[in-house]
Symmetry: C2
Subunit: 373 residues, 2 copies
């Protein structure tokens, strides 16, 4: 989520080219989900709504990627119920940049937004994790969350020969499967408590699709295997220890569509009994905007592998760096740890620069609508 915190700055730097791509992928995913949000909204009785209509974007980062989607939702609500008061609640973790969020959603940056122009639209922020009940019981009409809920509430263990659960096996994999199951149940039970009867939640989460594809593994160079290979090579080169290698395990789990939907379709599950129902589920792939731009440049005979590598690596670094940094022995001086981490991403960048073909971080998401009985 912190990947988006610098959105305003990135936009301010709009020199064209790769700069504006920093959050394009995340925004593409949300824009593509907007028809599903509208479909969810169509299931809600707006004209007969009692009290304010409450919306939430959970894992909103700086609010920039969802701003067009939210604007369209508000417009649709206004068309159906011109005087219905709307509460829009932006939520993320306590370490999110809420100052940047408010600047963006109040229209104080270069990012265009229609939100401040509406009467009776009340904006709020919450720093409560989606592993807890963010809103009071039965008050949420339309929830949304994109690219946030793959982060586990805790790391269920280290993976001895990889950096992400996609490379785990045996008992180590089982621990991630179980943590993913428990965390997903907890997330859904919190939403079941928050949603008003008839309310809907649209979730767009990183996952594994029916062809086994997932983030950065859609036929080209395998992103997580590349992370792992370089980190492993640092052990061979005696830059990091075996213990440091093992400790670098991302606290993430990519569920299959079945794992996502099971608690929503099994009448015996706690989630089903709490009143949550599956309305829609599908997987989709959204192309890496950096790789797409590079290919477009190449097709015009202008592709610059160095520029592509320089632009692409920071987006990978933004959500992986803290895990690799934390894996390094605390006994190492900070400067030494920083040097190792810089060298790590420099190595990845050099690989992309020298052989760019197939590199890229295509998004693979599960798109779901759930409703509350």
């Amino acid at each position: 989520m912190s990947a988006d915190s610098s959105h305003a700055d990135d936009i301010a730097m709009k020199g064209g080219g790769y700069y504006s791509l920093a959050t394009k992928g995340a925004k593409d995913v949300i824009d593509m989900a907007t028809p599903l949000v509208m479909r969810a909204l169509d299931g809600i009785d707006l004209a007969g709504h009692d009290g304010p209509f409450t919306m939430a974007d959970m894992g909103c980062a700086d609010g920039g990627t969802s701003i067009d989607m939210i604007g369209q939702v508000v417009e649709r609500i206004r068309a159906a119920a011109p005087t219905l008061p709307i509460s829009m609640v932006y939520t993320d973790q306590p370490n999110n940049d809420y100052n940047a969020l408010f600047r963006i959603v109040y229209g104080m940056t270069d990012i265009p937004t229609a939100l401040p122009g509406y009467d009776n639209v009340h904006m709020f922020a919450s720093a409560t994790s989606f592993y807890r009940e963010i809103l009071p019981p039965a008050t949420l009409d339309l929830g949304f969350s994109a690219t946030a809920m793959h982060w586990l509430s805790a790391k269920p263990g280290d993976i001895s020969d990889h950096v992400q659960a996609v490379g785990a096996s045996g008992r180590e994999l089982a621990a991630f499967v179980e943590q993913g199951r428990k965390d997903w149940e907890r997330i859904l039970l919190c939403r079941a408590a928050e949603l008003a009867p008839g309310g809907r939640m649209v979730m767009v989460n990183f996952g594994k699709d029916e062809q086994g594809r997932y983030l950065g593994n859609t036929g080209g160079v395998h992103m997580f295997d590349t992370f792992n290979e370089i980190w492993r090579s640092f052990v061979a080169d005696r830059v990091v220890t075996e213990a440091e290698y093992v400790a670098a395990t991302l606290p993430q789990y990519y569920k299959t569509l079945e794992e996502f939907t099971d608690p929503l379709t099994d009448p015996a599950s706690a989630v089903y009994r709490a009143g949550l129902r599956l309305e829609h589920a599908e997987t989709r792939v959204v192309a890496c905007p950096y790789a797409a731009e590079f290919r477009a440049d190449q097709s015009r005979g202008e592709g610059d592998p160095a520029a592509f590598a320089r632009a692409y690596i920071p987006t990978l670094r933004s959500w992986t760096e803290s895990t690799f940094f934390a894996a390094l022995a605390p006994g190492r001086p900070i400067a030494e740890r920083r040097e190792i981490i810089d060298a790590y991403y420099d190595d990845y960048e050099a690989r992309v620069r020298s052989d760019p073909a197939g590199h890229g971080m295509d998004y693979v998401h599960a798109y779901m609508i759930v409703s509350k009985t």
Copy 2:
């Protein structure tokens, strides 16, 4: 309000002495208002409350000064209605530091708070000004605001021979009186819309008391006259121009108790017709914590005028600097403007250091409870 933004840092610097006083005065004022908040709460039917109980602190800054008061309110609500869900909404201007706010109210700093320990207490922030409707209609049960609403929505003109409306006269004073009246009506009409029937709002606002006292004018050295004298001397010394002198006018107005209560007691007023009623009004003086500490030190034969002056001036500077800075001609280089402003507060500090007796910023507030029919 921004005066409190560095609360967490100040507390972190707790070396004793004056450092911990930076927000002590503002917190004293709120702690002293807590019995009034409890009285307002007693007027609300908690056991029979329908839906979540919504509270708001409008002009909360970093939330540190109200944290004990809010904790006591939550405890009282829990005692009367153990399972009643509570929404606590912290509000301020868009340029407030919401990251600092969330760290404090979620208990991530050294400032003790019981809030995160309660189940079913949901915290939110809003960056909507209290000159607009912050919350959806009829959803606010208990509002609170301290030391914030003396800031006018706009400066109604400059004051030709003073820096604050307390030194204005004639037509210039009349413009501030009228702006204060209009702004207060707007503030109250917004609260009338937000408050639920039976809801209460406790407001603690800078004002003029029955003896004509106001902030920094309670019998000792007149704080605003001192500001004005030094600024005027800068014209004589050709540091600033006459135009710059005049432009330095604080967009504030201190109302009398009558001006505060008139719209709430006049059946013909828009505010009264909107359903707001006066439940309680009084004025109180709270001693300047810096001056009090200095006097206590003196009584032990330990008073250090230089230390007092060094500690006291930053709190005056925190809420006046932007006005003086903005009054300087934009044609002056930034560095030159900074130098002038530094010299201005250095001059004030030198005055306090050389003759500390009578300096201090005692708080004079109007304390009110209003209810919604």
